[in-house]
Symmetry: C3
Subunit: 510 residues, 3 copies
């Protein structure tokens, strides 16, 4: 189907390289401006305040096993795109991709009979990815992988069916070298601080080991209580029990439950956390009265709370999380509007986060009102809101972030952290919220190797947008450079301040 | 009101011509890239898989009657724009446009007293269009008409009140020549295959005549059952009766109704159809149980199904259509979110499709879930979704098409098939879905003469977008050219494969 | 936090100036085209048909008091942005901004204990604004203030903490001069006509004084009845009483209420009004029967109408307003989708319009249907719709305005009247509605001094968009110039025609 591809110049005869002006505007004058701005941010340290790298990776610092385990199997962007081509004529189907299992994703425990066993040959998995390289044209995966393969791993040729084995050997060779172990890459990427995501009942032992190794300020936990505040989940009760064990507090009562959450938040603060993180399908922050909340908690523990009641309790608990943030200073991150496990059958076969998470409409103006009315001007409160529904940018999020001192607008997230989408984000939000009501880029990734590629792309997008403002005489160059430094470095630091200083001595000592 | 217009250079003194670089980016370097890409697609055959040309036009191959009947009266884009200016001071009102009747649109049977009789003088209708030429500035109608008038009909001057009669004579002269008969234009446009839209009870006799003339593979039907699966329509029962007659199957029972639909789908397959087409105001694909469906059908036949029940039955039938597609291989096209006949009084006066169809919000993530969970990985199933609600591009449609192998994202449609809107489509969808999860351009037109103009404009828009990717070093030129050929030619062919091969011999023989 | 800012060139060592090509495209060829177009519109008179300047300002023509009272305290764009930075480290917090009170906004009557007293030192308020100058980067406030300060007030340096006092003295000096009194600026700005916004019970005495001074055609009222048709408001009854007094008609009955509204509309017509203006959180125009409406009115007067009933009555009254517009020829402006006083506590402390107004989703297709079906083709009816929800542009508003002769699409409004947003407006609406179904720019401002800056920026945005059409060979230059003149001058005049001529002698004489 793609005769030209096989004959493509870059595949075969030229050296594969990263263009220094990639993702900058093509017009020469605009490009020169963008480069001038980018020169001031390209080498700034990375402040990565929202992500999903496993802290144990850095605590253990063991080498990455193989190219498939590093690049393909855990990256849902990659896996989704390849599976999306699995019934169409073309190289992906020809390479044998029928389901996520062919890319090494293992069936979940209890998967039904007939669920395909996961491919275990990393070379075969890698080959399938290479065969499907053309499917990623125009996507950020393409940009990130190109950056990582060329810049970090010095890969000599564009992935393709033909180059797959040679590339595999090249990468496997690199992974065996000490410079490619996690901490070495961390240093090489210039990461100043990296936030992980952790459950309230987690022991944070990897973070403790990191602290013992002097890395405590560099890798910090984030408090993510979703499963602990959603009684509609079947395993909510188990989570509440585990919370009690972790906190050493009886969580069979509503009061104990709140105390245990408060205690675990302080344990996270003590371990260096700067923020909490909240992702729910629907957003609502309406509080219940203490009596209503207690009654709902008791019903939920007894298994007799209906769906509407469970949703109201989750909304109430989001309000409580905001109240606790105003107390303990943890920044409250919120990102609603994702329908998890859209493909139920696949989720049951292969486990959660495989059944495709798909955005839905999100509403912020009414949903955040209770929290913003209560804490939006509180000097110790900060809410950072993310969306995958672009329609809220100019309509709701920029007006809110441009008004309430306690709110900032998070960076373009998930499906929106690519070149064109990042441009749309700035164009839709800056005119109402400015730059300083946004919180800087977050990579939100579990793909450790892509962190520097993602921050690089974001800095290029911001430099391009700022170059446009300068080129259109809407901003002077010195201001654009200052704003670029804000976006790349100062704002992520300032948006996620260390909460310790804001605690009273009594609280800090708890 | 528009003194400059009368004095405009192009009207009077210069030759009217099509610029070879129209709709390409103005920057010289970007334009050169776009031209290089466009050069590889401009002369590829047209694969027009979704449209509304009447098959009889090509079966009969009779000459087009006159310029008004060809260009004005049947083109609702044109008619709407002219009517929209009918109460404003200016050339349209001055030219005597008061309602659609002044543009030749006839009152419907049973139109109320006082409904204005349709203008019958084609020269007067054409004059009204020419007088209103400036109203189309910036619209795709302007681009298409310019292309058709200059490229196809060699019109020498820009339309205006002054040039109207000369242009009319010029066009009428051309229409009398054999090179301007439908089949000659079909060849000249380089159309490889053209899909029409047909009701399940249609005899497909025009297609049979085309097949007899050796044109069976070039003009193919599409199965459009909307009126047959919406019990809220007053004429639903009549349609179900007609379906029974066409299929030779008793449709007074739910089982017979399903069998008749299945049989007519196979008749369409035998006549060369590749797809079905479904347009409903609301999108829902939730199936009922067989018992519920049977009960709903019986109530609907008895006239006792309420609106909610009728909607649920339509949703169920969309699920059935998907199930039948997985069986017989017809691609399922779906395009919800249009409120038909918005202006009820005008619809009653002048007939359906006159009262203005206006978009409403459309939801896809939840609405398509039942069908995608059931058939989204089926090797014989393909769903192509269209929208006139751009907000669903990055939020819902690209994430869905970028995940499920059984789904592709249809081209920008209806109000969105213009230069800027087509750019927004690629910018909003490519980063998540790539190119190969889209299905290529569809012209969706009943204006036969505009088909080549529409595909030309779409190829220019895609070349411009791809040139941007190359100019920003996000894609290599060889890949961009390959992607352009995908979009212009390979993807529409591949997205609508012939279903015959997928049928079992037994089914194919039915 | 911002070391580079202090060292910025423009702050200290260079002259502050307005670039003649500001807000035009950076590409030299495109910029030349945009300039050619802008040259034809830049000096056209300003027709400002929708705004909130107080007519007394021009009737009294007293000098503006001081820079803070002129530029900061009454401008909610400015106040919001500064307050949004009040808990973040940086110059705004350092300058002492804690709440709106620190910017001179006074607590409302009956504000709770502890509400901070308003700052009364204009120099201190001005200093806070200057200290926060960098917060406005990329916003229209930045563009407007730059224009006003440099072009109108000849300010020599960029605002900053350091330059604050010198700038204050410079501005105060200018404000004492006769050339800076309101009428002198009105002439200098080239304003041909300026519409104010007025309540139905207003005496219009400032307009009468203007008329007596020969300014009656230059400053005209607009009829804004929101508070008089929303029974959900606590003060609705008081407004209905005041309406009765103003009209000299008993408004205790529904019939009298309608008659009084009709009479006041005619009084506005007599005073030169061209339009009504309607802003409601939700949009609905469904009429009630006369009996239902009468019953709802009586219940509302008795205080026994529930929320649903009150909303239905408001919808009914919007339909009545449309019916009256078809009678008396006042253009009906509508702009739904704003949740007023989002921050209830701040609204209670500091008064309405301080508690932040935040957009919500707006629906037009169904909501406007009753009015458009009834009056959309009426030769004497015009509806102009505005939105702060961009999603409605291509989906609902352009299709409606591109079909109904009685509807036009209003200019990008409020949060959307900035460079990038105005470009998005044209790109999203022109391809469906063209130019002549839009109504031209409205500044919608109470900041008198910014009027010329806002129209200037809008003309630059339109010139840039039109230059793109010319550069892409989608429009000829003569047409682009003609369209630019339409947008800048002809369309606002034509969209808001004087209704007097359309009244029958009997009506006009009432």
């Amino acid at each position: 189907m793609t005769p030209l591809l096989g004959a493509s110049r870059a595949d075969a005869t030229t050296t594969w390289s990263l263009h220094p002006d990639r993702a900058l505007p093509p017009d020469p004058a605009q490009r020169a401006l963008a480069r001038t701005i980018l020169d001031e941010t390209a080498r700034l340290p990375i402040v990565s305040m929202h992500g999903h790298v496993d802290a144990a990776l850095l605590a253990d610092d063991t080498p990455f096993p193989d190219p498939a385990a590093l690049f393909v199997t855990p990256d849902h962007y990659l896996v989704r795109m390849l599976v999306s081509q699995s019934t169409s004529p073309g190289p992906v189907r020809d390479a044998g991709v029928r389901s996520v299992a062919d890319l090494g994703v293992a069936p979940a425990l209890g998967a039904p009979e007939g669920t395909p066993p996961a491919e275990t040959d990393p070379r075969a998995i890698w080959r399938r990815f290479c065969a499907g390289w053309s499917a990623f044209r125009g996507t950020p995966t393409r940009a990130w992988m190109e950056h990582v393969l060329i810049e970090v791993f010095e890969a000599p040729v564009r992935p393709s069916l033909e180059t797959s084995d040679a590339l595999y050997d090249h990468l496997a060779d690199r992974l065996a070298q000490p410079e490619y172990r996690p901490r070495a890459l961390f240093e090489r990427f210039g990461i100043e601080v990296l936030a992980t995501t952790d459950g309230p009942a987690d022991t944070l032992d990897a973070h403790a080991r990191l602290a013992a190794a002097g890395w405590g300020d560099r890798v910090i936990p984030t408090f993510r209580p979703d499963a602990f505040i959603e009684p509609m989940r079947a395993d909510w009760g188990d989570h509440v029990d585990a919370l009690g064990v972790a906190a050493g507090i009886d969580t069979t009562t509503y009061g104990g439950y709140l105390d245990a959450l408060r205690a675990r938040r302080l344990a996270f603060v003590a371990a260096g956390a700067r923020a909490t993180d909240h992702g729910h399908e629907l957003l609502d922050t309406t509080p219940l009265s203490a009596e209503e909340a207690e009654r709902a908690f008791d019903c939920a523990r007894a298994g007799s709370l209906d769906t509407a009641g469970a949703r109201a309790f989750t909304a109430h608990m989001l309000f409580q999380m905001a109240a606790m943030s105003a107390e303990d200073g943890l920044v409250m991150q919120i990102h609603p509007g994702i329908l998890r496990d859209h493909d139920g059958p696949d989720a049951r076969r292969f486990g959660p986060n495989i059944g495709y998470d798909i955005p839905i409409q999100a509403e912020f103006t009414r949903a955040l009102r209770p929290v913003l009315e209560a804490f939006g001007h509180h000097p110790n409160f900060r809410l950072i809101a993310f969306t995958v529904d672009e329609t809220a940018y100019s309509r709701e999020l920029a007006p809110l972030a441009g008004a309430y001192p306690g709110m900032r607008l998070g960076a373009p997230w998930w499906f929106l952290d690519a070149s064109d989408a990042m441009r749309r984000f700035r164009e839709a939000t800056t005119e109402t919220a400015g730059f300083r009501n946004t919180s800087g880029f977050v990579d939100d990734t579990r793909a450790f190797c892509s962190i520097s590629a993602r921050h690089d792309l974001a800095r290029r997008a911001d430099a391009s947008y700022l170059a446009k403002l300068v080129g259109e005489h809407r901003l002077d160059l010195d201001e654009a450079i200052d704003a670029a430094i804000d976006l790349a470095y100062r704002l992520p630091k300032e948006s996620y301040p260390s909460p310790v200083s804001s605690l009273s001595p009594l609280e800090a000592a708890r």
